[in-house]
């Protein structure tokens, strides 16, 4: 476990960079993690996905898989791969302050 310091706030993250405590998540933290993941700016389309993931995470305690997101968040496979290029599965979960998604689809 290590600590990530963003704008003076320190957040606990695990070895792979996922938040240890999802309740420490804020929109500002999401923006900072997104930058580290190569996404310069989070647009409304990004937020639609992130907000769905947050809600899913709070209800189930898990991160949704990509197919769960595309089935329920009103975003297509093409869009999610464009919004979060090069590995959306982990990126979305990380930015949403959740753990790595479980499940294969």
């Amino acid at each position: 476990m290590s600590t990530l310091v963003l704008n003076g706030i320190s957040i606990k993250i695990n070895e792979e960079g996922f938040l240890v405590d999802p309740s420490e998540w804020t929109r500002e933290i999401a923006e900072e993690i997104a930058k580290e993941e190569g996404i310069a700016e989070l647009t409304a389309a990004h937020w639609k996905v992130i907000e769905y993931c947050r809600q899913y995470g709070l209800e189930s305690g898990k991160a949704p898989t990509l197919r769960t997101i595309t089935n329920n968040a009103g975003v297509s496979t093409k869009e999610i791969f464009n919004l979060f290029p090069k590995g959306p599965a982990k990126k979305v979960a990380k930015i949403s302050g959740l753990d790595k998604p479980e499940g294969c689809v």
């Binding site: 197919r67 791969f81 959306p88 982990k90 689809v105």
Partner: protein, 167 residues
Amino acid sequence: MEEETRKVAFICSKGDLDMAYPALVMGWAALGNGIDVTIFFTFWGLDLINKQRVDRLEIAPVANTSMKMSMMGVKTGNLGIPNIMGVLPGMTAFATKLMKDKMEALEVPPVREYLQMLVDAGAKLYACKMSVDMMELGMDDFIDGVIDIVTAGDFMDMTEGAQIIFI
């Protein structure tokens, strides 16, 4: 310097329903993790991208030593489905239905939809020229998303540096 993107290439040579899924599942996982995916369909594997065949893939219980009675809901441990039963008309359709139902219960999409997901996520699909010629098929026979019919040599060129998985 930017880190080079990891590349994985699958060779799908089987057209059975159970053998369709490994490349789909691993390919989808790879794309989700930012890995470049190429899939080369050869021999019976062409059934996976054949418009007429993709929704009709089957699994046969005959000579399948892993298929046990317990999979049909009969809790008999290691007792297999007898081959003599497997040859009865309708047994292949029955086993296929069983597998499709189990996959659906797990929210695993059917092969056609799964392939579309992979294509939308950036996977590159190719058909093997020799198999296509042998089976007298053409691009018109294939689902959308198949980029081209290529030779084994082309496949080797386009997968330089990739990890190759043969199924």
